[in-house]
């Protein structure tokens, strides 16, 4: 038995080596696939649901197979765009700035929703004694993901302008990871107050997924530029043009398009450019999130 166990061990090692090398040699390079991802600002299952009709539409428009990969980490999307593992990504304003820096300025934002040009964040709480930002001192507070624009960066920037430093003035700072999770944190009392993207808040209120008698908005930020669809810089310009046109062609009068726009919570898509996000870059520097 001991002998066979020895043999087993040796065999195990040898086999493992053999398979590792066998798998190493299988390379794949399927073209005509458009690889898409999105920052996980909502639950990945929700993102997949939202993307499905848009993916079909893009397949029809470009003639390519569209593959959507859900992720649970903001930075992984940025990194994947930089290492060319994805072609097209739905980014927030700040993640776009990060992607721009990581790709040495080559990432191109193509379109944004009309709403993204005047985006806001909402501060929410279930505590009736919190009525203004200054009441947040000494409370526990939930941001979204650390690299979220509307759930972390811009609120932090506006808190700073109101004279509040989250690390010093709040009792505890948590990162819920996603906007809907922030609402769950605040509704459950895990954090006394939190901040999230206005669009997700409005959706949750519309869908009655939040009890507005309990959780209420007590402050809203001034508007800023947020989300866009970004392509990696070395994508075929003809394809970039096709994608841009496909988004811009979406027309709310067309019922099929209306469904897509509805799921994306967009009135329509409008062209965007890098310069739109310079404000966010400045805010990120002054809030200490960019160095």
């Amino acid at each position: 038995m001991t002998l066979s166990a020895t043999r087993r061990l040796a065999l195990k090692g040898a086999l493992a080596c053999a398979f590792a090398s066998a798998f190493a040699s299988s390379a794949l390079a399927a073209d005509a696939v458009l690889r898409v991802s999105a920052i996980p600002d909502e639950a990945p299952t929700e993102l997949q649901r939202k993307f499905a009709p848009l993916g079909k539409y893009l397949e029809a428009q470009t003639g390519m197979k569209v593959v959507f990969t859900p992720v649970s980490d903001y930075a992984a999307v940025v990194e994947s765009l930089a290492t060319k593992k994805i072609d097209l990504a739905w980014l927030g304003g700040f993640t776009f700035v990060q992607a721009k820096i990581r790709t040495n300025g080559t990432a191109i934002p193509i379109v944004q929703r009309a709403e993204d040009a005047v985006f806001t964040s909402r501060f929410i709480t279930a505590d009736p004694t919190i009525k203004a930002l200054s009441d947040l001192k000494g409370k526990t507070f939930a941001f979204g993901a650390p690299s979220s624009t509307s759930g972390s960066l811009m609120p932090r920037f506006f808190l700073q302008q109101a004279g509040l430093n989250p690390e010093k003035d709040f009792k505890n700072v948590a990162f819920s990871g996603a906007h809907d999770a922030t609402v769950a944190f605040v509704a459950a009392g895990k954090a006394e107050a939190g901040v999230l993207n206005a669009s997700v808040w409005d959706k949750l209120v519309e869908q009655k997924k939040v009890d507005t008698d309990k959780v209420h908005v007590f402050a809203t930020t001034p508007p800023y530029f947020d989300y866009n669809w970004t392509v990696r810089g070395d994508l075929d310009p003809a394809l970039v043009k096709k994608l841009t046109d496909a988004f811009l062609k979406l027309d709310p009068a067309n019922p099929e398009h209306k469904e897509i726009l509805g799921l994306q919570r967009a009135a329509k898509f409008i062209p965007t450019k890098k310069e739109n996000y310079e404000g966010i870059e400045k805010a990120a520097h002054s809030a200490g999130l960019l160095k």
């Binding site: 493992a16 398979f19 798998f23 390379a27 820096i101 960019l290």
Partner: protein
């Protein structure tokens, strides 16, 4: 009984009391840093919140769509664990060979390999996973590599120690008669050590399943990723289904690994061939499991070795140097270290007390069940629940560690107490001592070295866990690391990783020293 001596006095009382006081003085600041406030557990609003959340566990989610996700994630978890361990073996066998003193004529410390192993082991697998998710993009490849590296480091160290611990005479004899070192190890040492080596490898596979669940929390796929989502959304029904699946998986892995280890203990049948049905089926199942795992995960390791990948890895790694050593940042990291240390110490101590209490009752069945349940829920999952119970912060982390560790230590304590010599306790009982005293002065001293060793070993593991509990809001180094990595502040993240490494090495050393002192 005999002549009743003057007022009964405890001869050891003074020493024990002063020891306890000293420990309290040392531990007090740590308890403060962990924001130890048991009162928060009974706060009515907190109780309502957690009651509400736990009530949501019933009924567990059973929708077809969700079950399909769950099935896929379960397979993915199994595959990550199996593939990860296969990779770990590939790493561990040569490194173990290099590191071990076995079969060497002159003793050598081999500092290079040893320190490589320390680095591999000292950085928690979750941190490796977090880095690999960035380098290799989305999906389970990151989890497999992370497991492979950490477990490779652990396996190599243990392989080396096992080979050193067996009788060196056969290997010596072989070396003297001119055999090379490899042959001496293969034929002189492996036959004695093989059972222990195989047994430890199987045990690690079981651990890998637990760990691969945890890695899902940073986006490396599998059950953990589902769990992370369900917990973030505080979706009790989904969380309950995932937890049940996870527990079943852990119990099944426990069963399989127990069966395998028993099989290794079975004396060989009196047959010419050493290969029985177990060995044959094992030889068939193992490679197919490894192949199936790699296949299912669609990992393309070829991509790892392309020039482009090497370039992007190089660039990524270069971003971590030099680490940020500005005094501002060092002060924040120092605070993180202190908080992490506090979480690990408080968590382990609470667990030691609770574990001992749960290990005492004679009627084991309900307590074993409780301990197994506590143990099979990973710390990160406990942390999301304790954060609801006592609010975000280090105390939630300490409690989460305590809950999981109670399960582990309780079981080990119960075994150690069972194995402790029964005679002294018996003698005291016969001499008329009450049950409590005969336990304290008869049974406990016999079992104490073992109990303390288990507790210290667990502390070494908990310091690594405490370092990453911050990912779910429990403070400490983990939260710093998560935040800085999200913002691509690699120089700062690098300082935090180095701090984690130093902390875990320091704790290993302290624990080894304490074990030696207390022996």
């Amino acid at each position: 009984m005999l002549l009743n001596p003057a007022p009964p006095r405890d001869p050891a009382a003074r020493g024990r009391l002063s020891g306890a006081l000293l420990a309290l003085v040392i531990l007090w600041p740590l308890f403060r840093a962990a924001e130890f406030k048991p009162g928060a557990l009974f706060d009515s609003s907190n109780l309502k919140v957690i009651g509400h959340f736990l009530a949501g566990f019933l009924p567990p989610e059973r929708g077809a769509e969700f079950l399909a996700y769950l099935g896929k994630a379960t397979l993915e978890t199994l595959a990550i664990a199996t593939a990860g361990l296969a990779l770990a073996c590939v790493i561990a066998v040569p490194l173990g060979y290099l590191a071990t003193a076995a079969g060497r004529e002159q003793p050598t410390l081999n500092p290079l390999t040893r320190s490589l192993l320390t680095v591999l082991r000292g950085i928690p697998e979750l941190v490796w996973a977090l880095l690999f998710v960035r380098i290799f993009g989305l999906g389970p490849a990151a989890g497999v590599l992370a497991l492979g590296l950490t477990y490779g480091g652990m396996l190599a160290k243990v392989y080396a120690e096992i080979l050193e611990s067996v009788d060196p005479a056969p290997a010596h004899a072989l070396r003297r008669s001119g055999a090379g070192r490899l042959l001496a190890i293969l034929y002189g040492l492996l036959p004695q050590a093989s059972k222990e080596l195989a047994s430890y490898t199987v045990y690690r596979w079981e651990c890998a399943i637990r760990a691969s669940v945890v890695m899902g929390f940073v986006g490396a796929g599998g059950l953990g990723q589902l769990m992370d989502q369900a917990m973030k959304m505080l979706n009790g029904g989904e969380a309950a289904s995932i937890l049940l699946t996870f527990m079943l998986l852990v119990f099944a892995a426990d069963g399989v690994s127990g069966w395998l280890r028993r099989a290794l203990d079975t004396p060989p049948a009196a047959r010419a061939s050493p290969f029985g049905w177990r060995s044959i089926s094992f030889l068939l199942v193992l490679p197919s499991a490894v192949i199936a795992s790699f296949h299912w995960l669609e990992i393309d390791f070829g991509e790892l070795f392309t020039a482009g990948a090497a370039h992007s890895i190089g660039e990524f790694v270069a971003g971590f140097f030099p680490p940020d050593l500005s005094s501002d940042w060092l002060a924040r990291v120092g605070l993180g270290i202190w908080e992490t240390l506090a979480i690990s110490v408080v968590g382990t101590l609470l667990a030691a007390v609770a574990g001992l209490l749960l290990a005492l009752p004679k009627w084991r069945a309900p307590f074993s069940f409780l301990l197994n349940t506590l143990r099979s829920v990973p710390e990160l999952v406990w942390a999301t629940i304790t954060a609801l119970a006592v609010g975000l912060g280090p105390f939630a982390g300490a409690l989460a560690l305590a809950l999981h560790t109670t399960g582990v230590l309780g079981r080990l304590y119960a075994e150690a107490l069972d194995n402790a010599p029964a005679a002294p306790g018996h003698a005291l009982r016969l001499a008329g001592a009450p049950a409590g005293l005969s336990f304290l002065y008869g049974t406990l001293p016999g079992a104490a070295p073992q109990l303390i060793a288990y507790t210290l070993y667990r502390w070494e593991m908990n310091i690594r866990m405490a370092a990453i509990l911050g990912f779910v809001g429990a403070g400490g180094l983990g939260q710093l690391l998560y935040f800085e990595l999200s913002l691509f502040h690699h120089a700062q993240a690098s300082t935090v990783i180095i701090a984690m490494l130093i902390l875990s090495i320091a704790v290993d050393q302290t624990s080894a020293w304490l074990r030696q002192r207390l022996r």
